[in-house]
């Protein structure tokens, strides 16, 4: 393409600016509840239930002070450790599995894929008692390790499905060329295939972190003191006898989602880029 932009493309580009209108409209629809939830963090408690709702008020930072004075920061640290641990562990396992499933035609591959998917289907209520037994047998109650293992079950499922799509997209010729150059299968996997699915790995990490940092019921049952996670601490600290401490809850939620957003922004250029969901049948 020449450096000068052809006239018809300029016109084309000009027409594309009309897309700002619907784009801003859509964003506004999603952003308004976010704004409202966020504004609660700065609202004095006495006006939360005002009607008409108070759009203008003198903001207070008391709620954030409350959050950092409580046990919540400990729980948030726990949540971050568990979420990152789960993400790394489950995406590592899922990458191996997805590549294996993508590169080889097992006779019962579809069944295996479906079984992995089905692990996501069981409601937590059915497994909380057996899991609380299991972690006691292995003396893992209230530990990061137990949470990471249990969360991995749910996360491996989605990550395998996601990553298999990415691996399926890699042209076979590339791997074949590497093999002709004398690469062994493991080296083909780590040096050729994995770099090509970085976007998929980034996406799987994001979703894994989102799931693990927000899960409530399993965390409620499997943690109680040292490994208490943020959602459990939210209900312990901000859902009080007085009712819900809206300001504290909002401030705590903002503090919790901040690292997730930061991570998503860091990997934004990778998020699902180049995925066309090749072979998922």
């Amino acid at each position: 393409m020449s450096a000068a932009i052809p006239a018809n493309q300029v016109k084309h580009r000009g027409r594309r600016f009309v897309w700002y209108l619907p784009a801003i409209l859509i964003t506004a629809v999603f952003a308004f509840p976010l704004y409202w939830i966020g504004s609660m963090a700065f609202k004095p408690a006495r006006i939360v239930q005002n009607y008409p709702p108070s759009f203008r008020f003198s903001p207070t930072l008391d709620n954030f002070r409350q959050v950092f004075d409580s046990t919540y920061p400990d729980a948030m640290r726990n949540s971050l450790i568990i979420a990152v641990g789960t993400a790394v562990f489950s995406v590592f396992c899922a990458t191996l599995t997805a590549y294996g499933l993508s590169r080889h035609n097992f006779r019962r591959k579809d069944n295996l894929l479906f079984w992995i998917l089905s692990l996501r289907m069981l409601p937590a209520v059915a497994v909380i008692v057996p899991y609380s037994r299991m972690v006691r047998w292995f003396d893992l109650q209230d530990t990061y390790a137990a949470m990471i293992l249990v969360y991995s079950i749910f996360n491996i499922s989605f990550s395998v499905w996601l990553l298999k799509g990415f691996f399926d997209e890699i042209p076979k010729e590339m791997e074949e060329a590497a093999r002709i150059d004398g690469y062994g299968p493991w080296k083909v996997f780590t040096d050729v295939a994995v770099p090509l699915v970085i976007p998929g790995i980034a996406t799987a990490l994001v979703f894994s972190i989102i799931f693990s940092i927000n899960e409530f019921l399993l965390a409620f049952v499997l943690t109680q003191r040292e490994a208490v996670t943020a959602p459990v601490a939210l209900t312990n600290v901000f859902i009080t006898t007085f009712g819900v401490n809206w300001g504290g809850l909002s401030a705590a939620a903002m503090v919790l989602v901040a690292p997730v957003i930061v991570f998503a922004v860091l990997v934004r250029n990778h998020l699902l880029r180049g995925m066309s969901f090749g072979q998922l049948d």
């Binding site: 408690a45 239930q49 609380s132 409620f220 209900t235 312990n236 006898t241 819900v244």
Partner: protein, 420 residues
């Protein structure tokens, strides 16, 4: 989560409590007086009230000795005793020990019979049923009312209904309720009316709900309550989904003139300008009277020892400290705690209006089921009450359906005398 837990060598008591207004003060007092005197550290863990019951049951299921002391709600007593969660206290080691400073007869019998003794039949209270705890927090549902809009609080439900209609206008409803079906929301609204008009929820001696819950009197009471919403329009229709949170909020933002609410639990919340827009405008009156009697819903919590605790003597020492003159007095005087003592000799120390109203209601306290099946009975009834409240089902049908379903649960209970 505090450091105390990590030093196992030194004795540390672990207390599992609900997130409760009096918790912070108890924790501070324990660090100030109990630990220096006894050399025993206290790790006080407050969790969400709605999940505490399940937390304890899961701990029992896992044979856990992680906690030495469990705080519990009166409703959970039967289930906890059946699960073996709570140590029996009327033994030589504890209450029977001549050196102990806790005397059962120093407490109001209205409280101990409902809160720490089990099994207990409210209709025929026993003074020698086994004891599983000591009182921790005492509350009853009082009528909170706007004393700038009314000269006196309504004394009967009929008066309250008339007053609520009179006070309802474009910017305010006369009455606020927690009409949601979760926890014990809507039943706390209907119980005082049903009981006040002579109705009952069940007959505990025979485990019968059929014909008692759906009596004509109860049907009339429920119709009366539903009409305040659907006919009079003196209650906000949104209240059908409300919890304690929105009910109190409606009062404190000046959008309702009256509501039932716990006392002394919330302490001086109505006079705290950070939380209330009606400072100095709230009065506290006993729950109104029905056509037959006055009934006030009890909301009391006890504290007891984990059966599996490895340091029961130290835990008992803590309960003795908790019930001591100094501790109870300090708690009564702490306004945010919203506390009154169960000890008869300390009643005179509680002088705030939200404290004294509790003692006015003491003779009329009533409680619901506290058998292990209570949650099933509660949820069956609340679902039907809520359907009636929003107008999805006629009140009479709702109570008939509830009685039918509850009877199935009661018939299947191993504690039903017919199954003995």
């Amino acid at each position: 989560m505090r450091p105390g837990h990590f030093v196992k060598a030194q004795a540390t008591l672990n207390v599992l409590a609900p997130q409760w207004p009096q918790g912070p003060k108890e924790q501070a007092l324990a660090a100030e007086t109990f630990t220096p005197e006894s050399g025993i550290a206290v790790n006080f863990e407050a969790v969400n009230y709605a999940t505490l019951e399940q937390r304890v049951k899961l701990l029992v299921e896992g044979q856990s000795a992680d906690y030495d002391i469990y705080d519990y709600d009166s409703q959970w007593l039967g289930g906890f005793v059946a699960a073996g969660a709570l140590e029996r206290l009327d033994t030589d080691q504890f209450l029977g020990n001549p050196d102990t400073t806790i005397q059962m007869d120093s407490f109001f019998p209205e409280i101990t019979s409902r809160l720490v003794r089990y099994p207990n039949n409210e209709a025929a209270p026993s003074e020698d049923a086994p004891v599983y705890g000591v009182p921790w927090s005492l509350n009853a549902e009082a009528l909170w009312w706007r004393n700038d809009l009314m000269d006196a609080a309504p004394a009967t439900w009929e008066e309250l209904r008339a007053k609520a209609q009179e006070l309802t206008n474009d910017s305010m409803f006369g009455y606020a309720v927690q009409g949601g079906r979760d926890a014990d929301w809507i039943i706390s609204e209907t119980n005082p009316i049903m009981w006040g008009n002579g109705g009952e929820l069940w007959d505990q001696a025979t485990y019968t709900a059929q014909g008692i819950l759906n009596s004509d009197s109860n049907k009339d009471s429920l119709q009366f309550f539903v009409d305040m919403n659907l006919v009079d329009g003196s209650i906000d229709p949104a209240s059908a989904n409300w919890t304690i949170n929105e009910r109190l909020g409606a009062l404190l933002t000046g959008k309702a003139a009256m509501c039932l609410n716990w006392a002394p639990l919330f302490g001086g919340v109505a006079d705290d300008p950070n939380q209330s827009q009606v400072v100095g405008q709230i009065g506290y009156a006993p729950s109104p009277a029905g056509s037959v009697t006055t009934a006030a819903m009890i909301g009391c919590q006890g504290t007891g020892l984990n059966t599996l605790s490895e340091q029961k003597d130290a835990a008992w020492q803590y309960l003795e400290w908790w019930q001591s003159d100094e501790t109870q007095t300090a708690m009564i005087e702490d306004i945010p705690s919203g506390f009154v003592s169960a000890r008869t000799d300390l009643q005179s120390l509680a002088t705030n209006p939200w404290q004294t109203v509790f003692f006015e209601m003491l003779p009329s306290l009533r409680d619901m089921w506290n058998i292990p099946e209570y949650a099933q009975l509660l949820q069956i009834l609340q679902t039907e009450l809520n359907l009636a409240y929003v107008g999805q089902k006629p009140p009479a049908d709702a109570l008939d359906d509830a009685a039918l379903a509850q009877q199935v649960v009661l018939d299947g209970s191993p504690d039903n005398p017919a199954n003995a």
